[in-house]
């Protein structure tokens, strides 16, 4: 019974990952990260993503503030934040987020406020989607590890 549960959880995990790859949410850089995880650092990917989420949320709040607060938007500062987000998203394999940031950066280069606002909304959506799906993935992984440990 426990063995079945472990297999089922493994199938759920690989299915969710396959979906995220198929949707273009993640790219092969995510797999490179997974390959760095082993028994001596079993939570490596989770730790990396926790840092990413923490930094990304600060940047997203700042981007919203730069666009919405005040009469004039600081496009130069926006560009700096977007470059940081593009870099960190590329590093963890967050492909769709990276691509939206690139579109956002183009709009900010053109001082296009409406374009920037649209890009920001899409970016916030993509970020929430990625965060929710990865939390789901990490939860399944933790359950699988627990079930495998109990089985032994």
């Amino acid at each position: 019974m426990l063995g079945f549960r472990v297999e089922r959880l493994w199938a759920d995990m690989t299915g969710l990952l396959a979906l995220l790859f198929h949707q273009g949410v993640l790219d092969e850089q995510f797999l490179e990260l997974q390959q760095l995880q082993d028994e001596s650092s079993p939570n490596f990917v989770l730790e990396v993503f926790n840092i990413y989420f923490h930094e990304a949320e600060k940047l997203l709040r700042s981007l919203r503030s730069l666009l919405v607060d005040g009469e004039f938007s600081d496009y130069k500062k926006m560009r700096i934040h977007l470059n940081l987000l593009i870099g960190s998203s590329s590093t963890i394999g967050a492909k769709r987020i990276r691509n939206v940031c690139i579109v956002f950066r183009t709009a900010s280069d053109q001082n296009n406020k409406i374009g920037c606002l649209r890009a920001l909304e899409l970016l916030e959506y993509e970020y929430c989607y990625l965060k929710n799906k990865l939390h789901e993935l990490f939860q399944i992984e933790q359950q699988r590890i627990l079930a495998a440990a109990i089985r032994e």
């Binding site: 490179e32 760095l36 490596f44 840092i51 940081l84 593009i86 960190s88 590329s90 590093t91």
Partner: protein, 123 residues
Amino acid sequence: MARKICALVVDDDPMVRKIHGMLLIKHGLETEGVENGKEAVELFLSGKSYDLVLMDMEMPVMDGPKATKELRAMGVRSMIVGVTGRGVEAEKEAFMGAGLDSCWDKPLNPKAVVSMLDQLAKK
């Protein structure tokens, strides 16, 4: 027993320090990390030495090119490898001109690390 190769990861991004640090550890290196070029220079001034320095290009306080120039001016002969998230060729050339042994795009992968270690072995 052969001593481990020591590396210093210089990057203001904590995520990059973690990933690049782990990549180096997987290849058998001992690693330390600092947040900017000034901290890297201070480590060398304190007497510490490293075989390999991974130097980010853009950092607050002291950026990669400035830190590299200072380290070379101090006589540091460690292998200094530039790492940049921006693909602007002119900036990479200027970074190389500061005294790097090589420059790679972020994020590094195992192939890049093997190439660096090969270069280090030849030094």
